[in-house]
Amino acid sequence: MSYIGIVVTSVFASNALLTYGLGSIPNRDRGRLGSLPSAIALTVVNALAALFLWVVHSLVLFPLGLSSLDVLFFALFAVPALKFLSRAASSSGKALLSRVGEDADDLVVGSLVFGLALIASRGGYALPEALIASSAAGLGYWLVSLLLESIRERLELSDLPEPFKGAPAMLISAGLMALAFMGMDSAFVKGLTG
């Protein structure tokens, strides 16, 4: 599949949240998820995590027949390294970089970054493809979070039955969005982009 195809697939057809269930549905406490620093943090952290896990998995663990140990290597080496980088960025003094660092720091220990890195390393991608797929998947998560956030704001103003207010309405909205994204399946994208 072409790089454009990988990007479109990772953002829509294989969306991190709506297809793989990675990360979490945005809630009121995470209002700034839709911001530009958030998008940059999601892209960069996912790319770095995928880079680390791809290198460790493909060049070290897989040849030794120890692929399953990637989880341990990620916890022991990648997480502290990513935490260090994000804290260094957040204390840089530059406004945008600080915000990116703060957002990245929140993301490092979670199913989103780890899950996307695992998919990139175990999904049979070459290194450039793995980097593009995981960065695009981060952008896909950001896009869905942004859309769900705006849906949540509208739903708060609408007259829903009490039990459906909040999380249930968000889950149903996410499901309907997932149905729409399912239309862009991998075969369709491959046919479109080559």
């Binding site: 709506l18 979490s24 989880v71």
Partner: protein, 209 residues
């Protein structure tokens, strides 16, 4: 109506939405949902039991990496056990077995055990007891959600039996509502289940968090 809270344990998935997104992805059938629920419960309970003593012997700045490494080791051990028990279930759970290391329930157990208040919380309840109850409720919910989605969606039930191929009970020749086993159907199904839970809890005079 006065709020009744005594003796009421909120369901971690349906009330707190703990680990709900990965659960939607893995609860396509009974076997995988039960295996994922059991793995989450195992990791959370062991972390709840081991984390407090570990915190007392490990230096402050090394606690977070040490606990994450412990969580990853538990996920790894559980993944090996599932692979030995049923390669089909292990293959079905794919990256979600290693992801148990950072599952919502594991992180919740670590947060609960991070308090310096000792073995008991402010309400006098044992912290490990609370983590265990939450873990068992997660396992029960995962199993029920997986069963319901598979039964209504495909008209089958995949039993978590050992061996290379899973045992499947067939109740319908054609899939009655196939969309339900897709992630999109899972989100919509869980949305209705959470709403039903809230309605039932609300009708009982309790307030869901």
């Amino acid at each position: 109506m006065s709020e009744r809270r005594e003796g009421f344990i909120p369901n971690p998935v349906l009330a707190g939405l703990v680990g709900i997104c990965p659960l939607i992805a893995v609860s396509r059938n009974l076997a995988e949902a039960a295996a994922y629920g059991l793995g989450s419960a195992f990791c959370a309970i062991v972390l709840g039991a081991v984390a407090p003593p570990l915190r007392s012997v490990v230096a402050d700045r090394l606690q977070a990496p040490a606990l994450l490494a412990l969580s990853a080791s538990l996920a790894l051990v559980y993944a090996f056990c599932v692979l030995l028990y049923s390669p089909a279930i292990a293959a079905g759970l794919w990256v979600y077995l290693p992801l148990l290391a950072v599952s919502g329930l594991s992180l919740s157990a670590l947060r609960r055990s991070a308090s310096s208040l000792g073995r008991f919380g402010p309400d006098g309840q044992s912290r490990l007891g609370a983590i265990t109850l939450e873990a068992l409720l997660f396992l029960l919910t995962a199993t029920l959600v997986g069963s319901a989605r598979e039964l209504i969606g495909l008209g089958t039930l995949t039993l978590p039996v050992p061996g290379l191929s899973p045992a499947r009970l067939v109740f319908a020749d054609a899939a009655p509502l196939g969309i339900l086993v897709s992630p999109a159907g899972g989100f919509i199904f869980l949305g209705f289940v959470v709403a039903a839970y809230r309605a039932i809890v609300g009708a009982g005079g309790r307030k869901s968090p």
